[in-house]
Amino acid sequence: MPGEQYIYAAYGLTWVVLIVFTTTTLRRVRRAERAARAVALSGETP
């Protein structure tokens, strides 16, 4: 299959970008949730 390496490069790059961006997004959501939860808990104790 001629030009095979370009197809591997394209799909490889796509998946690397998708997985890295998804993971960092999940991490950010997780961190934001923890912070918001801590705030809510400390807000509830007088």
């Binding site: 394209a10 790059l13 998804t22």
Partner: protein, 242 residues
């Protein structure tokens, strides 16, 4: 997405349920992308001119369409913010801009990977390629402005007008670059997509759309939660409980 901006509202239990939902959502949308790609690979015969290189279309074109769509969300969020002055629209525009930046960069890189074996060069001053590159730097400028301004209300106002002016510029950029090219050499005609590839392309575009929506929603949610924490920290610093 029904959280109010009031830090007093308890977010202690709700996020946990939603937290696992975001992980599952991520796995589902990524699995759909894999499935759509598998479908594309199995159904598409080698192209007459491009051979198997045509398969790059299934990632390049969906990335491009959704990058553009994300930029439309930036424009819509910016207009809505200036109209309604509600912070959620600013945060939506910002989240969409982050996703648009990544997808635009991916689109350019994929176009370049396809262009190398097809045209023999990594880069050419093709109108669409060049306009996409300008779009990327406009989005990067937008995000840079956001990172330089600390005061949230001012940041929202400023980034909204920068987003709107940037969007206004996109058709002008495209037109100018197209003229620039055509005044030198004839433009290559865009090849219409053969029906054999249409379904693969459609499915991949939909799968990418779902990924895009998931990313914007998740980042929007994170941005809102971050603002809740920030507001609460401000209140604490001011010494009162609101």
């Amino acid at each position: 997405m029904t959280h109010t901006m009031e830090p007093r509202v308890s977010t202690a239990t709700a996020p946990r349920a939603k937290g696992s939902a975001t992980l599952i959502g991520a796995l589902i949308v990524l699995a759909l992308v894999a499935a759509a790609q598998a479908f594309g690979f199995l159904t598409s015969p080698p192209d007459r001119d491009m051979g198997h290189l045509q398969k790059i279309m299934y990632v390049h074109v969906p990335a491009a369409w959704n990058a553009f769509l994300a930029f439309v969300v930036v424009l819509a969020g910016s207009v809505m913010y200036l109209w309604k002055r509600e912070e959620k629209w600013d945060l939506l525009a910002a989240s969409a801009a982050e996703v648009a930046a990544v997808l635009t960069a991916l689109t350019i890189a994929l176009g370049s990977i396809w262009g190398r074996p097809t045209w023999g060069v990594w880069w050419t001053w093709d109108p669409r390629l060049t306009s996409t590159a300008i779009l990327l730097v406009i989005i990067v400028g937008y995000l840079a402005l956001r990172s330089f301004v600390d005061e949230p209300e001012r940041r929202a106002r400023w980034s909204a007008v920068v987003g709107i002016l940037g969007a206004l510029n996109v058709p002008i950029v495209y037109m100018s670059v197209r003229w620039w090219r055509t005044l030198h050499q004839p433009q290559s005609s865009p090849s219409t997509v053969d029906p054999a590839y249409a379904w693969g392309l459609r499915l991949n575009a939909i799968a990418f759309l779902l990924v895009m929506i998931w990313l914007v929603r998740a980042r929007y949610r994170a941005a809102r939660l971050e603002r809740i924490s920030e507001l609460a920290a401000e209140r604490e610093a001011l010494g009162g409980r609101g």
